[in-house]
Subunit: 422 residues, 2 copies
């Protein structure tokens, strides 16, 4: 790249962020009715411009097929008419959700007569750095608009043509609804643009990475702008001595196999030694029948066949595939210890009929969600009834678990007086 080209491109992220800030102020002041009208317009526009979107997507696919992308990755990148209509439908679903902006979180009258009200306001400019799937583009844009924020979208280079067309359509629909089109912008897919977003203090209010562990680690290490970490899920299911074994088998099978590529799927099975002999052989067979490769410690290998030896790497790995690590633990505290050492604070599940075991597990593990006698797969914005989600936060600040619309806001204290001084 020439120096000139590099300067122009650096300028461009800064210029975009500045325009986003201006747009954010108008979006913050927009009524719910106006924002909902924009969402309708955005959904209609996606549905009305299918050929243009599919054509851009075809170009991305042609480029990708020349590279080393896996079939799964290619499938994530691929749009179909149905997938685009699903994106439009997701935008329409946001309309019915309550607008978080203006909600009063708490309020009180002080003894000196001051009225203190804590009110939800938009964050401002939200940057989303994501990989793969182009549906994130519409989802993230819709969530930001509904919550009164401007969106700076930095998708992957492989989806650039698709994202460019999607953002042009969405931004245009926003402008047609009387809101600033620059409230939705796509940032160039050059390597350097991520870094520019991550350090745009004063211009970008928060960066939300959506993607694999490498992306998230990069963002956290390089950002000076506040970050909401999302989505690394090394989730465990602990089958207690007091578990209903049939329930445990159904939960483990569901947690591992219903959609292995997502962050709320289970990666490690921890089994209390008292029930291991009864539980593990049929459980292992059921998992293997479903195509799962087991990685177990020696005690596991004694109870099931075709078990690969597990190392510390297995305890640490978010497989995102039909692999599962299996360990027999001596006690509930042993399970809690294992999770404290290897968990990523996403979702941890216990299957048990013992109230005291459940209480000890809930108090002992430190995670965004703890499932009691339910599949890890329920940690999800729409399952929780939040409508859409922009990710699942695995950090402790700001928001933990599924990030819905209220999590895309901050608050202001409005203090009203009659001339009070201190």
């Amino acid at each position: 790249m020439t120096q000139g080209a590099r300067a122009e491109q650096q300028d461009s992220v800064g210029t975009q962020a500045l325009a986003a800030r201006t747009a954010a102020r108008a979006l913050a002041a927009a009524s719910s009715a106006k924002k909902n009208a924009a969402l309708t317009g955005m959904a209609d526009a996606l549905g009305g411009q299918l050929p243009e979107i599919l054509e851009a997507n075809a170009a991305d696919l042609v480029n990708a097929e020349g590279g080393d992308m896996s079939t799964a990755m290619l499938d994530r990148l691929r749009l179909t008419e149905q997938r685009i209509l699903d994106m439009a439908e997701a935008l329409r679903k946001l309309i019915a959700l309550p607008d978080p902006v203006g909600q009063v979180v708490r309020g009180s009258a002080l003894s000196n007569g001051l009225q203190v009200t804590q009110v939800r306001v938009p964050l401002g400019v939200v940057a989303i750095v994501y990989e793969g799937r182009p549906n994130v583009t519409a989802d993230a844009a819709g969530l930001c608009i509904k919550s009164g924020n401007a969106a700076l979208l930095r998708g992957s280079a492989s989806a650039y043509q698709t994202n460019r067309v999607l953002v042009a359509i969405l931004s245009n629909a926003l402008a047609c609804a009387g809101l600033p089109g620059q409230g939705i912008q796509l940032v160039g897919a050059h390597r350097s643009t991520v870094g520019e977003l991550l350090t745009a203090r004063g211009l970008v209010d928060v960066v939300i990475p959506r993607g694999g562990a490498g992306l998230i680690e990069h963002v956290v290490s390089h950002a000076t702008v506040p970050v909401i970490e999302t989505g690394i899920g090394n989730c465990h299911v602990y089958v207690d001595a007091a578990a209903d074994l049939a329930m445990a088998e159904a939960i483990v099978l569901n947690a591992k196999t219903s959609r292995p590529s997502v962050c709320n799927s289970a990666e490690t099975l921890l089994v209390h030694r008292d029930i291991a002999e009864r539980f593990l052989p049929p459980m292992a067979a059921a998992l293997q029948d479903a195509g799962v490769t087991l990685h177990g410690d020696p005690a596991v290998a004694r109870l099931a066949s075709h078990v690969l030896p597990a190392t510390e790497k297995d305890w640490a790995t978010e497989y995102l595939s039909l692999d599962m690590a299996v360990r027999i633990v001596d006690s509930l505290p042993g399970a809690v210890e294992h999770i404290a050492r290897w968990g990523t604070g996403h979702t941890e599940a216990i299957v048990s009929d013992s109230a005291s075991a459940i209480a000890a597990f809930v108090a002992g593990v430190d995670a965004a969600a703890v499932m009691v006698n339910a599949s890890t797969r329920f940690t999800d914005g729409s399952e929780f009834g939040f409508g859409a989600e922009i990710g699942i936060s695995t950090q402790k600040l700001h928001a933990r678990g599924p990030l819905g619309l209220p999590e895309l806001t901050t608050t202001t204290y409005v203090v009203t007086g009659t001339g009070q001084i201190r």
Copy 2:
């Protein structure tokens, strides 16, 4: 420093953080009664060991007097019997405050029968990096213990002897109450220890800097651990065309002069041009009588004497002294623009009797607190009725404004089922 000494010291922050993590788990599980008993013990211990604390403080003061510390800084460092008893009293006040841990933030039953409950849990290990005043040591320790967190305290080198004795007393009192003494630890005051805390991902859950702009900038730039920014307050008072001028004068005088060294004092006065001629001459005289130096634009200088010319630097400066920048604005949007450009998102005030002007100002400024007809000085945890505060957040994530006990917690979703799968 020898390599050996450096290695030992690096080890030491890591070892301390690891011990803090273990302590944090016990503190998270501690009952309110036990934590309150510890706070009583901590307060009693401070009151009972006055000579030891004063002796250590005298040693710090002797060291400091050899350096280039200002009289104001020396005063901040100095402890007296009364100041120590005030620290003990502040700890006792925490006892009566509600324990945030275990509070249910929200909950619902899903249509599939799952019970979802969002519960407050401690953050874990909270590192506080602070300057100057040793009372922060006891305040921060008390707030952390009450909210079930372990505290890693990194005070300034100038207060090291004092802090060392304070932490030994507080930690010992914690242990006597049956809680892990390593829940309150002082980190060495070497330069490198700040960096070690800032990058202790997985060991430290949040870093809260308390101090000047330089410290906060350093922390934000170097941290990979999540940070809560606090306390930079370039606060404005806008006197609207529809203001009660006597009220405005009292508020401006209070906001500037009642305690100029704190973050919620006002730094810039913005005056609507329609009332400038009536308002500014007596206002300027009143401020000058109170010892305030005015820095104004040419329009201000025409209406008041002894006004130093203001530059952009003045608009940008948090003086923290008896200086005030003054600007005449053409309109309310002009005031909002000025604040958008130069404010730090702490506290902005409007004095006006116009409901529409107030609404426009509240909607237009983006700050932790907006004061309507009240002094900026009210942005304060105890004024808001939160009891103690650990700082005033000027960032948008997690918490904005005074940080009380609930802001020292995160949440967990506890999802209870009867075998549900997806």
